[in-house]
């Protein structure tokens, strides 16, 4: 179990890759982001993106899943207060394989609730060509190791 104390500033972690399919992109977009460039291959060709691409919220969801499967799920996570900044740098296309890297940039104990603290991390997601598709700085709340 990973507690607040186990996050060290400067720590870098590479996560297992995840490939995204056209079916998944369209299914997510139907439910949450039905804009033509996320839903319709022909319409997407006419758009600035040049082809069908994933909703940015879908890419964010895939990133969250990678984090839960490989880190948060084995941690004393207490949820997240929020995201400082997120940028969709390049479109994610069907068949793209996403590689996520995270780095701990700040760790602090809560002043009002000393049994927990907040970790600030920076994330970068790259595609199979090494291009950055997403960057994020986000916060997570974790319990301290019980004494």
């Amino acid at each position: 179990m990973k507690y607040l104390e186990d996050f060290i500033v400067g720590q870098v972690m590479d996560y297992p890759p995840r490939t995204v399919s056209e079916e998944e992109i369209i299914a997510f977009a139907r439910d949450y982001d039905p804009q033509p460039f996320h839903l319709d291959k022909e319409a997407a060709k006419q758009s600035l993106f040049g082809g069908l691409c994933a909703s940015g919220w879908h890419t964010a969801g895939l990133m969250m899943r990678i984090l839960v499967d490989n880190m948060i799920g084995q941690s004393a996570s207490m949820g997240s207060p929020g995201v400082d900044q997120l940028r969709w740098v390049k479109p994610v296309f069907p068949g793209d394989t996403l590689h996520l890297r995270g780095e701990v940039v700040e760790a602090r104990v809560s002043q009002s609730k000393p049994d927990r603290g907040v970790i600030t991390s920076r994330y970068e997601m790259r595609n199979q060509k090494g291009e950055t598709v997403l960057t994020m700085q986000a916060k997570g709340m974790y319990a301290r190791r019980p004494v």
Binding site: D31, Y32, D33, P34, Q35, P36, F37, S47, L48, F49, S55, G56, W57, A60, G61, L62, M64, R65, V68, D69, I72, G73, S77, M78, G79, S80, P81, G82, V83, D84, Q85, L86, R87, W88, V89
Partner: protein
């Protein structure tokens, strides 16, 4: 998000509402955020949240859907480079009804691409008790209605 010329700095608008069901909360979380307090009502009771709550990413995705359905003009909108300062302020629970509100903070014409501009909006999600549950600053890119004037 309308055409660039239609966007008025400081103007607020409401954009639709949606009620979260337990089934949807669990379905989204199974796919994207399978933490116990998002997928398992029993386990969730024992956590600090005291019961099942929606993934914050689910709340954000639902707000996106509300924006697409009632605020973004699909002819004018050209996507978004990202957002800043997203805060999940209160949990969203099964049965909660969330409505959206957006307020334009500023707008700027593109220097490199005539006929295109960007605007920043404060986007807020508010529950049925009028509590702010989520907030972020969104950046939108949009076309001008009359590109010749840029």
């Amino acid at each position: 998000m309308q055409y660039y010329e239609d966007i008025e700095i400081g103007a607020s608008r409401d954009f639709g509402s949606r009620t979260f069901t337990e089934a949807e909360i669990i379905a989204f979380a199974r796919q994207f955020d399978p933490q116990p307090f998002h997928v398992d009502p029993e386990a969730a009771r024992k956590t600090a949240f005291g019961g099942l709550i929606a993934s914050g990413w689910h709340t954000a995705a639902v707000v996106m859907r509300l924006l697409v359905d009632s605020a973004i003009d699909l002819e004018a909108g050209l996507g978004s480079p990202g957002f800043d300062d997203l805060a999940w302020l209160k949990p969203v629970r099964p049965g909660d009804t969330i409505r959206g509100r957006m307020t334009c903070i500023d707008k700027t014409p593109s220097r490199s691409r005539p006929g295109i501009g960007s605007a920043r909006f404060m986007v807020e999600a508010i529950n049925q008790k009028d509590e702010l549950v989520m907030r972020f600053t969104s950046i939108g890119i949009m076309r001008f209605r009359n590109p010749a004037q840029t």
